[in-house]
Amino acid sequence: MSTLVSGRTGEWEVVIGMEVHAQVVSNSKLFSGSSAVFGASPNNHVSLVDAAMPGMLPVINEQCVKQAVLTGLGLNAKINKFSVFDRKNYFYADLPQGYQISQFKHPIVGEGEVKIELSDGSTHKVGIERIHLEQDAGKSLHDQHPLKSYIDLNRSGVALMEIVSKPEMHSAEQAAAYIKKLRSILRYLGTCDGNMEEGSLRADVNVSVRRPGHLLGTRTETKNLNSVKFIMQTIEFEVNRQIELIENGGEVKQETRLFDTTTGMTRAMRGKEDAHDYRYFPDPDLLPLTFDDAFIDELRMGMPELPDEIKYRMVNEYGLSSYDANVLTEERETAAFYELASDGRDRKITANWMSVELFGALNKAGIELAQSPVSPSQLGDLIDLISDGSISGKIAKEVFSEMFETGKDAKLIVDEKGLKQVSDESTIFAMIDEVLAANLDKVNEYRGGKDKLFGFFVGQIMKASKGQANPGMVNQLLKQKLDI
């Protein structure tokens, strides 16, 4: 699928790179013992280290190191057993130290890749340049006072992974697929909760345009986008703006821009002429971060199966459609639910039941899978009842809604309501006899050649059995009776 964009003067190639800041899942901050949990009152999750009191020193959190390495493994990336924390120096109200501890020359994770799938079914690889660990800044509130900004340091020092892609995306769709896939992998690994609304995952998007085959154009960086929609809007806006600018004889300026969520437009950030002279140097309060192969191997052993591997198994071993496999692997919890529910049963039927009945009911009730009143084993039991002929598919739907409402087991509902399918020959013959006796005229018409009436008899018998008669047997036995 071509991703070229036509402008007034010809075609343009879009080049997109992304720097994703993913908040590391940990109890405490990267270099201090205060809580990393979101949502406390201002300056409550702040230690003297986070507030940069004189003489305070950083001590690294082992969990954050593990999470970064695990993320690197999940992105098939090179893990660096030697990395260095640097200070990135700049002044800002929510940066209490006057520097951010980050990694510059020697990041903890090197090159890796993410496989994305596009709507036309094609796949595409996006290279990862590096992942480094760094501190988050605090938060400035500009709307509390006409002349003042208010500063909350709760986030100051929370661990972030900055995941830097290579400039290998060429459309808003690719960028969206990339961020979704990345989010899914991080959530599978449990290294970032992926909550974009709360800012646990946010992206700086670098966009440039060039004539196909030419050198890279000048890029702009739009900061801190916290939804897939905003990322796409930013790219679309920037692509159009840049093409128009160049086609009208202008030049793209390398600058940092902000996205306005109300207008869907980007604008240049106010003056920061020295913003790029960060005077990085190794943080003398810390030593190089080192670990050995055994440390990496242990993390590798504990790694969960990732969506790509699970999907492969679903399509190739279970025979699911690529669509179903995508739906079932988007979230780790969904895949796990499915694996449990379908274990030892018909994989396809289970997939169907999950994506149609269960997801439908969850949607309607407006709840998440985690809160599902029907557990994986309960759903499995229901499917067993269908497979062994205890109930029909139609009855099963009825049983399912009852299960969803009450949380009761399928068997219990079937027993309580006497919904078990009737497969006993003599019982079914008895029902057939009754129906035929009551409709002798129609029996004659049928025997006279009106074949269509067969359906009518089946309907009447099913009705008489309250839907519980085994439909296959009804068909077969009815035929015997009528064709005498």
């Binding site: 003297l48 009191m53 003489g55 020193l57 001590v59 002044f91 520097y99 500063i151 309060d285």
Partner: protein, 493 residues
């Protein structure tokens, strides 16, 4: 009992243990001396009440038999250590009024060992200086100044810490040494000053100047006292990632171990142009003393010595420019109000930092900025490695190195303040140990012809402070330095 000020810490401790004197008595004598020597401008924040309480607690400990190694001993603290609920300023206008809600690891260890806090001592602003003249409180005066003569410098940056111990206004004191800030003032004031191995004492809670060089250490009147208080200060601190997790040996034993068979290096490169003749002679004497005490003298070479100072004046300002970024008028200390954030930063920092601090922040910012990093900062780090390797080689051959502490005795206040480079040259013999992370000690060893104290410096390899104590003790015995400075407290005379 007027002899109270004359006792060493070890002597005082023995009398306290025997209950021949009380902690409160001892404290009273020191507090009187503090009043008497006020003109030396050593204490920027005396802590009379806290001291009283601590002395009473110490007496209780002695009577209950629970006394620790420093119980009841009066100790002054450089105003660079954060002390809980006691104003901590780093002698800078920008931190005026700052009340930490925490206590530095080193001071809290000293208080836990029973030490009695006399107050906060004068120093150069953010420890940047070699004469104590950059302090917002004005300079500490050297008690060796003639009674009717010029005010002489106590040295710096820990000027108040050295002067107070020399003047009998503190039995012992705490300082920090980034490029010589303990050893140089100790030499200028005629007391013992120890800069431990980098990583031996925790830096947690000490206002940072240059993080890869800063180390806390004690000022005392004797080597034995130095070992006593140092044992209480040293040790691993999980709150400081650069602190070494090593056991602290019994240093007091090392003081009396003798130096029979030790090999002492004399580095050729420490003979520098313009060095005071008195110092050269003293250095020769020191060499002879050590030989007499049974050591073997070895001539060694530390070829990159000459480059230590310029190397230091890139690395220390670079780290300082970043460490001092937190003083921005937002969280604590001074603020000059302005309409915009940047204006507020710029005015606050221009007003709150003194000239030398600003100069070093600017040098450091320059050395780290785009386009200059490789030529200055990276180059300095490479030279730093060469300096360290010089020492590594030397310590394959010798147990300790003997040098003068400073190239000259102290000087009148105001004499050097106008020329930064002349001022920087004071640290020519002390800076290499900081760059290499080595322990060093300055021992008072004699007087210049003008009657000013001179110090000899001993250096040892990483974490071998024990060897410093053994050799310094040998020098101390033979030098018999026991003179009292003219402006010391009356009872010390």
């Amino acid at each position: 009992m007027s002899d109270l000020l004359k006792m060493t810490a070890t002597q005082a401790r023995n009398l306290l243990l025997k209950k021949e004197i009380s902690s409160v008595e001892l404290l009273d004598a020191y507090q009187t001396a503090m009043e008497e020597t006020k003109g030396l401008n050593n204490y920027v924040t005396p802590t009379f009440e806290v001291a009283k309480q601590m002395a009473m607690d110490a007496d209780k400990a002695y009577s209950q038999g629970t006394a620790s190694s420093l119980s009841g001993l009066p100790i002054g603290v450089k105003d660079l250590f954060c002390t809980k609920d006691i104003e901590t300023t780093a002698c800078s206008a920008i931190l005026k009024g700052f009340l930490p809600s925490y206590e530095s690891t080193v001071t809290s260890k000293v208080w836990k060992s029973g030490g009695v806090m006399l107050g906060k001592l004068n120093c150069d602003e953010f420890a940047m200086g070699s004469s104590n003249e950059t302090s917002i409180f004005g300079p500490s005066v050297n008690p060796w100044s003639k009674k009717d003569g010029n005010n002489l410098s106590s040295g710096g940056s820990s000027g108040g810490s050295a002067s107070s111990v020399a003047a009998g206004a503190a039995l012992m004191s705490l300082g920090t040494d980034t490029g010589g800030s303990i050893r140089q003032p100790a030499a200028f004031c005629g007391v013992v000053g120890l800069k431990p191995t980098y990583g031996r004492c925790s830096r947690w809670g000490i206002v940072a100047f240059a993080s890869s060089l800063d180390q806390a250490g004690p000022f005392t009147r004797t080597v034995e006292d130095s070992a006593l208080i140092f044992s209480a200060m040293a040790g691993h601190d999980p709150k400081d990632s650069t602190s070494a997790s090593l056991k602290v040996p019994n240093f007091s034993k090392a003081v009396h171990a003798g130096i029979e068979g030790l090999r002492i290096g004399i580095p050729a490169e420490y003979y520098v142009d313009g060095m005071d003749i008195d110092i050269l002679e003293l250095w020769k004497k020191g060499r002879a003393w050590l030989e007499q005490a049974g050591a073997t003298i070895v001539d060694i070479s530390l070829p990159h010595t000459k480059y230590a100072l310029p190397c230091y004046y890139i690395i220390a300002p670079a780290e300082a420019s970043s460490n001092l970024a937190r003083y921005d008028g937002v969280k604590y200390g001074k603020r000059i109000e302005a309409e915009t954030l940047d204006e507020m930063y710029e005015l606050t920092r221009a007003d709150g930092f003194g000239e030398e601090v600003q100069r070093r922040i600017l040098i450091g910012t320059y050395a780290l900025s785009a386009g200059y990093y490789d030529a200055y900062y990276l180059k300095a780090q490479q030279v730093r490695r060469l300096i360290k390797e010089d020492f590594d080689k030397a310590f394959n051959e010798v147990d300790a190195i003997l040098t003068p502490t400073t190239p000259s005795p102290t000087f009148p206040l105001g004499a050097e303040v106008s020329d930064p480079i002349t001022m920087y040259l004071n640290d020519v013999f002390t800076v290499p140990a900081n760059l290499a992370g080595l322990p060093g000690i300055s021992v008072p060893a004699g007087l210049s012809k003008q009657g000013l104290p001179l110090g000899l410096q001993l250096l040892a390899s990483h974490f071998r402070e024990d060897k410093l104590f053994s050799t310094a003790s040998a020098i101390e015995k033979q030098a018999e330095f026991s003179l009292v400075p003219p402006r010391a407290a009356g009872d010390l005379q």
